[in-house]
């Protein structure tokens, strides 16, 4: 019952927000729903109902982690939107709020679905819900961005559906496409069709995740979408897409196909790391830089899935950390954009002096995103690298370390250039109202805490998630 509420309430509210004529309380409605959603998610943690997947909807460990990321990032984004919409001077923002709520509904569906077709429907719905949001500014560049986004995402989603059908065809016993039945009867799945299903699902959901070479829509889309939308996409959407892939890996692991899925996962993961590192070096735009960072982290996640073992635990932890920190840093960059009117890094200097909190958020975000201690991403990346060494994949670990170093250099150059230095003449300190900094600070703070201490209930959940993915704890 709670699950259905979590899915349907945002959708219903979105419809109400679309239809209602009043503009004033729409943003507050958004915030209210976000808060209710967080409360619902928290209660799911409380009830400790982490049973094995049964039926069409349910809460399992990995789904709960994704739901938490979605919920928290959405709360931060809705708080941010209170001020953002004023700054952007948009009348009523009806499309903005309704589409955001539709997205929340769809993302919740993805997180809670244990039927592969429902996962697919949710992913398709997220694609459609975000399209109008990407097109927010309605100019040439955002038109180009939304077109590329739509075409590539739609083709990816179509191929994912194709893979879903292959999965249904591969099944011999049990209810079709139910995750629990698939895992339980994994030994009887037809291997040829299962592998074909995996390939199509990898390509399909990989496109939505933004794995190279299927990532070409990401820089354009993240660059042109408004910052809160980009934060949501980088934090929540990628996690949902990863969940689609992870569910497939669960089935593959149960069917003893772990050896088959390694090469494609490694190939896409390494390609993502290489491409993102390469394109980050000469980057001039802050949001595009962060888009490539998103590609990089999706690559790390794919590699972690391929490694298996303790890598699966690292993947789950990294999912959580990455989602939260992406939300934080994109909103911080959003503040920079509000400050100087553009996301071109050359247009802004000395943010630390003009908006101290934003500056701190940027520096902290830089270190967090590149995997430096004491932030949570260090722990998760360390776990993954350790798993790689343990599995005898030393070359993989070394390649990853090298590329992560290059990424650090590329990002640091740009962000530190924006944060430090003296501001231009006439550019004085800027107010940093609560809605614009509270969300990012909380998200960043959570990532910092996760780097120092992981509560037992979270450890337990992550371990269960890893177990489902065919791995174990480090």
């Amino acid at each position: 019952m709670l699950l259905l509420t979590l899915i349907l309430l945002p959708a219903a509210t979105g419809a109400v927000a679309w239809l209602s004529p009043s503009a004033r309380w729409r943003p507050r409605l958004l915030l209210g729903i976000a808060a209710i959603h967080v409360a619902g998610t928290a209660s799911l943690w409380w009830t400790q109902d982490r049973s094995a997947p049964e039926g069409w909807l349910g809460v399992d460990a990995l789904g709960l982690v994704v739901l938490t990321v979605v919920s928290l990032v959405f709360l931060a984004v809705s708080l941010y939107s209170l001020r953002f919409l004023e700054h952007a001077k948009v009348q009523g923002a009806r499309v903005f709020i309704s589409c955001l709520l539709a997205f929340l509904s769809a993302a919740t569906l993805v997180a809670l679905a244990h039927h592969f077709a429902l996962v697919w429907i949710g992913m398709e719905a997220t694609t459609l819900a975000l399209a109008p949001l990407v097109f927010f500014r309605r100019d040439r560049r955002s038109l180009e961005a939304v077109w590329k986004y739509l075409v590539l995402s739609s083709v990816g989603i179509a191929l994912a559906l194709f893979g879903t059908f292959f999965l249904a065809a591969a099944q011999v016993e049990g209810r079709p496409l139910i995750l629990g039945d698939l895992v339980r009867n994994a030994a009887s799945l037809r291997p040829g069709l299962l592998r074909a299903a995996f390939v199509f699902l990898l390509v399909g959901y990989g496109t939505k995740m933004g794995l190279a070479p299927l990532h070409s829509w990401k820089p354009d889309t993240y660059g042109e979408a408004p910052s809160p939308v980009a934060a949501l996409m980088a934090g929540a959407l990628t996690s949902c897409a990863f969940l689609g892939l992870a569910r497939t890996v669960e089935v593959m692991a149960a069917a003893h196909q772990a050896a088959f899925i390694r090469p494609p996962l490694f190939a896409l993961g390494i390609a993502s790391l290489v491409l993102s590192a390469g394109f980050m070096i000469g980057q001039t735009d802050l949001k595009r830089l962060l888009a490539y960072s998103s590609v990089e982290h999706m690559g790390i996640l794919a590699i972690a899935l391929g490694i298996g073992g303790a890598g699966a635990y690292g993947a789950a932890l990294h999912l959580l950390n990455n989602g939260l920190i992406k939300g934080s840093i994109f909103l911080a960059v959003g503040n920079v954009v509000l400050l100087s009117g553009t996301s071109e890094a050359s247009a802004t200097r000395g943010v630390l002096r003009r908006a101290p909190l934003t500056g701190i958020l940027l520096i902290a975000g830089l270190f967090a995103v590149t995997g430096s201690p004491p932030f949570g991403l260090f722990v998760s990346e360390f776990t993954i690298l350790g798993a790689a060494f343990h599995a005898g994949l030393t070359w993989l670990a070394i390649v990853m370390l090298l590329l992560l170093a290059i990424v650090f250099v590329g990002m640091a150059r740009l962000i530190l250039g924006v944060v430090y230095g003296t501001p231009e003449a006439g550019a004085g300190p800027v107010a940093e109202p609560f809605p614009l900094v509270a969300g990012p600070l909380v998200l960043g703070g959570l990532v910092l805490i996760l780097g120092l201490y992981i509560p037992p209930v979270l450890q337990d959940t992550l371990a269960r998630a890893a177990g489902a993915l065919g791995g174990g704890t480090p």
Partner: protein, 212 residues
């Protein structure tokens, strides 16, 4: 006489060739509408013990693929005042030959896929070839609207494949699929309209401002 579903699938392949070979956008949309009509009749031809599931699916497909979407796309080209597709990346003749090769390939590999007993031996090859041809149109054509038609054909191919599993994957899902296709094309059509307004053309090769 051949079973009716085989005739329908045959006609689906012919509409694919029609889309590959024509230069007129309105002709392409008409072909897609015809394909939608054939696909609407297909579930009933395949599973004649018309349960509510099958009849609902047929009606839903008819409404979405054969009536609403083509009507919407026709309005889009009327707004854009575009009539013809220009020579695509690989040429019309080469497209037709590749399409025929795709059909041959699909018929050749379909028996090897050892898919569980489907009602017709032609379902899987036609589905595969339609998917390949949809991807072909999507990737090699210049006008944004043709790419949308290519996407429609891709989805039609996946739909035909899904029909072979229709007995097992229940109703809710098929409704979801149809709804998502509808919304996807709808939104793409709106974007096409905007592309025309903003760039004064539907040539997606012009969309090159964003790059690294």
């Amino acid at each position: 006489m051949q079973p009716s579903h085989d005739v329908l699938l045959l006609l689906v392949v012919l509409t694919n060739f029609w889309v590959l070979g024509t230069t007129r956008l309105s002709s392409m949309i008409r072909a897609a509408a015809m394909q939608g009509l054939l696909l609407a009749a297909l579930p009933i031809a395949l599973y004649p013990h018309a349960s509510l599931h099958i009849v609902g699916l047929a009606i839903g497909t008819l409404l979405v693929k054969a009536i609403v979407l083509p009507h919407f796309l026709t309005r889009a080209i009327r707004e854009a005042a575009v009539r013809r597709e220009i020579e695509p990346l690989i040429g019309f003749t080469a497209s037709l030959i590749l399409g025929a090769a795709a059909v041959a390939l699909a018929f050749a590999i379909a028996p090897r896929l050892e898919l569980p007993g489907t009602p017709s031996g032609m379902l899987i090859p036609v589905a595969l070839s339609t998917v390949i041809i949809g991807l072909l149109v999507l990737t090699t054509r210049n006008k944004a609207l043709t790419q949308v038609v290519g996407y429609l054909i891709l989805e039609n191919g996946i739909y035909v494949f899904g029909l072979s599993q229709a007995e097992r994957v229940p109703f809710l899902v098929e409704v979801g699929v149809l709804l998502d296709v509808f919304a996807g094309v709808f939104i793409m059509g709106i974007v096409v309209f905007h592309i025309n307004r903003e760039f004064d053309s539907l040539d997606s090769a012009r969309l090159t401002e964003l790059r690294d």
